[in-house]
């Protein structure tokens, strides 16, 4: 059954570590460019987990999900970077802590 030579747990640990890196990047960085990069990392780690699972059970679903994640990432980046441009023009900064006009 196992289609992998590497134990799946190891790969999942790598995916988890990548996800955590992205999470920390998201929480700690104030530059919106880096926040978007963190998001990419997190999506990528999820994709890695899917592909791993797909390989493990020798199913195509993992790679299908990878492709869907790819589209999500592409759409997200397109909109996100458009927002970056607008924020830069509007606030003259990329510091998201200063772009807090939605505060209550």
């Amino acid at each position: 059954m196992d289609g992998l030579m590497v134990p799946m747990e190891h790969v999942l640990v790598v995916a988890g570590l990548l996800f955590t890196c992205g999470l920390f990047g998201l929480m700690l960085r104030r530059n919106i460019i880096f926040m978007l990069m963190s998001l990419e990392v997190m999506l990528n780690s999820a994709a890695l987990a899917f592909v791993t699972a797909g390989a493990h059970w020798a199913q195509a679903d993992g790679q299908v999900m990878f492709m869907l994640i790819l589209t999500v990432a592409a759409a997200e980046v397109a909109v996100g970077l458009g927002l970056v441009l607008q924020i830069q023009r509007r606030f003259k900064t990329l510091d998201m802590d200063r772009a807090n006009r939605l505060r209550g």
């Binding site: 590497v6 990069m37 797909g54 909109v79």
Partner: protein, 169 residues
């Protein structure tokens, strides 16, 4: 051997990611991120998903990262940006990512050079993936297409020069 190669790729992926997210310079970070993505692509390849690996390189490391580069470049126009450009060509800043990428290339060559063309697992061929994608997942494909369309519209709207709103000066 493939197992060892896999772990090396994993380490490179982690290291590049940590490096990418701890940079202060966006361009440097981007280069590390690309390395990270390449490492993940190698891992895909080693896990018997060559199609996914190819897409990872083409779309992620290629298209999406190029978008990032475009935006960063748009934000750093002018003489100051040019001076920084020159500084970036200095050796130290590209040595580490360069060597990481080289290592990954080496891995790929090793694997491709292997007579069996083996991967670490059972290969799932692109054909099966495509049949699954346009079979049971047809609806998801439709949704993804709509998502891309809306992303396109959103990006078009947001990418305009300046959106005038009430209350702006």
């Amino acid at each position: 051997m493939i197992v060892v190669l896999f772990y090396i790729a994993a380490v490179i992926a982690l290291a590049a990611t940590v490096a990418a997210l701890t940079r202060t310079n966006a361009t440097h970070a981007l280069i590390y991120l690309i390395v990270s993505l390449l490492a993940v692509a190698v891992m895909f390849f080693l896990m018997g998903a060559p199609f996914a690996a190819a897409l990872e390189v083409v779309i992620y490391a290629g298209a999406i990262m190029v978008l990032f580069v475009f935006v960063i470049m748009m934000l750093n126009l002018g003489a100051a940006g040019e001076a920084r450009e020159r500084q970036w060509l200095a050796g130290r800043s590209w040595f580490v990512p360069g060597s990481m990428a080289a290592l990954l290339l080496l891995e790929m060559l090793l694997v491709l050079g292997d007579a069996h063309g083996v991967t670490s697992g059972t290969a799932v061929s692109p054909k099966v993936v495509g049949m699954t994608l346009f079979g049971p997942y047809l609806l998801a494909v439709e949704i993804a297409s709509m998502l891309l369309l809306s992303g396109l519209v959103g990006a078009y709207h947001l990418g305009r020069r300046f959106i005038v709103r009430r209350g702006d000066h």
